[in-house]
C-alpha cells in the first residue's frame, strides 16, 4: 500500500474539492486521488482569486500600494501594511516616532489575536462543531470594534503609512483594549472547555497530519505550522523589527508536529500577544504619530526587503526601485503559499475525513496564496 502512495493505479478515484466548497475557506480547488478512503495525492489548483496584485503595485505610488496589501491576507491586514510601510521607510531612511512604533506593535498584536480567534472558530467548524465559531467571533468582534474606532475599518485598514500611522489613536483606545484583555481572560477558559479538552477533538487531531521539522524547513513552512514541528522561525525574535527586541514574550514551540501541535501553538500564541499588549498599553509615549515625509515619496535606486511575522508566518516585501515614484517591481512572499505546499506531503496516506482538519491547521487564507 505504502509504495503506491503518490502514484495512480487501478481502482483510484480522483475527486474535486472546491473551488466552492464550504470547507475550503475561500476558493481553493483540490484534486484528490483516493483509494478507498486513503488519500494518495492532493493537488491544489490555484488562481481562482488571482488579482495580479504585484503587477498592480507597479503602477501605484509608494503611498498608494499599501492599501492593496490589506486585500491579500485580509485577516492580518495591519501586519501586511506594516511590512510595506517598513520597507518603504528603509528606502527613505526616516526615523519613526516612538509613539507610532508602539501603536503599530499594539495593532499588530491585536490583529494576531483576532486572526487566531477566527481560525480557532473555523478550525472547530471544520471538525463539525458549530458553537465555538460564535464564541470566537464574540471576542474577535470586540477587537474589530476597537479597530473600527481608531482606523475606521474592520478588515481592510490601510492604517500604517510610510512614516507612522495615518491617524492618532482614538481617546477610547486604551480603555477599550483593557476591557478586551479583561474579557479575553475571563473567556479563555471556555476555549479549553469547549474544544481543547474535548476527547473527540483530541483524537481527531493527535497523531494526524505529521510534518517533520526537516520537511517543514524544506517546504518553506513558517509560522505556526513550522513552530508546531519545533522549528524556531518567529521573525519577531530572529530578526526583530520595530520595538520587538525590547519586549518580553516567548516564541511558542511545540514538538509534536501533528495537527494538535499546530493547534496548540496558535492557542498559546494568543496569550503571548496579550502579554505584549499588556506591556505596552499603559506605556504609549507622547509625541507625534507620524514622521514628516514628503508629499511625493521617491525611493533611491536599489533593492529593499523587509520581513515580518504575520498571524500565518513570514511575510516579506521586496521592492526594486529605479529611483522613481513607483516601484519597478514588487514581490510579496506570502506565508500561506509555502504552507499550502506542505499539504500534499502531510495528508498522503491519511483518511479523507482528516483532510479538512489538516487544512484547517494550516490556517489558509486563499487571497494571500493567490494574490
Amino acid at each position: 500500500m505504502i509504495e503506491e502512495i503518490g502514484r495512480t493505479t487501478e481502482g483510484d478515484v480522483m475527486i474535486n474539492v472546491g473551488p466552492q466548497h464550504p470547507a475550503t475557506h475561500g476558493v481553493l480547488h483540490l484534486v484528490i486521488t483516493i483509494n478507498g478512503e486513503t488519500i494518495k495525492k492532493v493537488e491544489p489548483h490555484l488562481g481562482f482569486i488571482h488579482r495580479s496584485i504585484e503587477k498592480m503595485c507597479e503602477s501605484l505610488s509608494y503611498r498608494q500600494f499599501i492599501y492593496v496589501t490589506s486585500r491579500m491576507d485580509y485577516l492580518s491586514s495591519h501586519i501586511n501594511n506594516h511590512a510595506c510601510a517598513l520597507c518603504v521607510e528603509k528606502g527613505l531612511q526616516v526615523e519613526i516616532p516612538s509613539r507610532a512604533q508602539v501603536i503599530r506593535v499594539l495593532m499588530d498584536e491585536l490583529t494576531r489575536i483576532a486572526s487566531h480567534e477566527l481560525w480557532w472558530g473555523a478550525m472547530a467548524m471544520d471538525l463539525g462543531a458549530f458553537t465555538p465559531f460564535f464564541h470566537a467571533f464574540r471576542e474577535r468582534e470586540s477587537i474589530n470594534d476597537i479597530m473600527e474606532e481608531t482606523c475606521g475599518a474592520r478588515l481592510t485598514m490601510n492604517y500604517m503609512v510610510p512614516g507612522g500611522v495615518m491617524q492618532d489613536i482614538h481617546p477610547n483606545f486604551q480603555r477599550r483594549v483593557k476591557d478586551f484583555i479583561r474579557l479575553y481572560k475571563s473567556k479563555v477558559n471556555e476555549y479549553d472547555e469547549l474544544v481543547t479538552g474535548n476527547i473527540i477533538f483530541q483524537n481527531r487531531m493527535k497523531g494526524v497530519g505529521y510534518l517533520s521539522p526537516e520537511d517543514a524547513i524544506s517546504y518553506g513552512c513558517t509560522g505556526p505550522p513550522a513552530r508546531g514541528s519545533g522549528v524556531s522561525c518567529d521573525i519577531r525574535k530572529l530578526y526583530p523589527y520595530e520595538i520587538y527586541d525590547q519586549l518580553e514574550f516567548d516564541e511558542i514551540l511545540e514538538t509534536g508536529g501533528d495537527s494538535f501541535a499546530r493547534y496548540m501553538v496558535r492557542v498559546r500564541e494568543m496569550n503571548q500577544s496579550i502579554r505584549i499588549i499588556e506591556q505596552l498599553i499603559d506605556n504609549i509615549p507622547e509625541g507625534d504619530f507620524q514622521a514628516k515625509t514628503k508629499a511625493v515619496l521617491k525611493l533611491p535606486k536599489g533593492e529593499f526587503y523587509q520581513r515580518v511575522e504575520t498571524a500565518r508566518g513570514e511575510f516579506g516585501v521586496y521592492i526594486v526601485s529605479e529611483g522613481g515614484t513607483t516601484p519597478y517591481r514588487i514581490k510579496f512572499r506570502s506565508p500561506g503559499f509555502s504552507n499550502l505546499s506542505a499539504l500534499d506531503h502531510m495528508v498522503r496516506g491519511s483518511k479523507l475525513g482528516d483532510l479538512v482538519a489538516m487544512m484547517g491547521t494550516l490556517d489558509l487564507v486563499i487571497p494571500d496564496i493567490d494574490r
Binding site: 492599501y67 473600527e148 475599518a153 495615518m166 474535548n198 476527547i199 473527540i200
Partner: protein
C-alpha cells in the same frame, strides 16, 4: 481488554461532550450575555464610530459653501481613479479669471475607502461619512457629484 478500553473511551468522550454542552446550555439560559445585534431592526440606535470609512462626502455649511479649491490633490492621491475633478474659470469681482471647482465626480463603485484622499486634501473639504448601505438597483446611481448644485467656495479658502 480492548472492550474495556473502548467503553472507557466512549464514556470519556461523552463526559467531555457534556462539559462542552454545559457551556452551551449556560448561554442558552443567560440571554443577557448574548451580544448579537438585531440589524436591521436596530437601525435607529446603530452608532458607528466617527472615523468609520463609509463613503466620501463634501462638507457644506449653511450658506451652501464648501472648501474645495479644485486643486486635484485628492484625485492624484487616489489609487483607483475614483475621483474626477472638473474645474471651471470664475470671473472674480476684479475681473480676473480664477480656477474653481465645477464638478467633484465621485465613483463610489471604485472606491476602496482607503482614506488617502482625505489625508491629501489641504483644506479639509472632504471627509468620510458613516453610511454603509450602498446597494442600488443600477450602477449609474453610484456615480455621484459631491458638490451640491449652486454651491460655491467659502470666502477666504485658498
Amino acid at each position: 481488554m480492548f472492550i474495556v478500553k473502548y467503553i472507557k473511551e466512549v464514556f470519556s468522550g461523552l463526559k467531555s461532550l457534556a462539559i462542552g454542552l454545559r457551556l452551551t446550555l449556560y448561554y442558552f439560559t443567560h440571554h443577557k450575555e448574548i451580544i448579537t445585534q438585531q440589524y436591521p431592526d436596530n437601525r435607529e440606535t446603530l452608532n458607528l464610530p466617527e472615523r468609520f470609512k463609509g463613503e466620501v462626502v463634501m462638507l457644506h455649511d449653511e450658506n451652501n459653501e464648501h472648501a474645495c479649491t479644485g486643486c486635484t490633490a485628492c484625485e492624484l492621491a487616489c489609487p483607483n481613479g475614483t475621483i474626477k475633478i472638473i474645474t471651471k474659470f470664475d470671473i472674480a469681482t476684479d475681473g480676473k479669471k480664477k480656477k474653481a471647482l465645477d464638478k467633484f465626480v465621485y465613483h463610489l463603485e471604485l472606491c476602496t475607502m482607503c482614506n488617502l484622499c482625505i489625508v491629501a486634501c489641504p483644506t479639509d473639504a472632504i471627509k468620510m461619512a458613516q453610511t454603509f448601505e450602498h446597494s442600488v438597483y443600477d450602477r449609474s446611481e453610484l456615480t455621484k457629484i459631491l458638490n451640491k448644485p449652486g454651491s460655491e467656495i467659502r470666502e477666504g479658502v485658498e
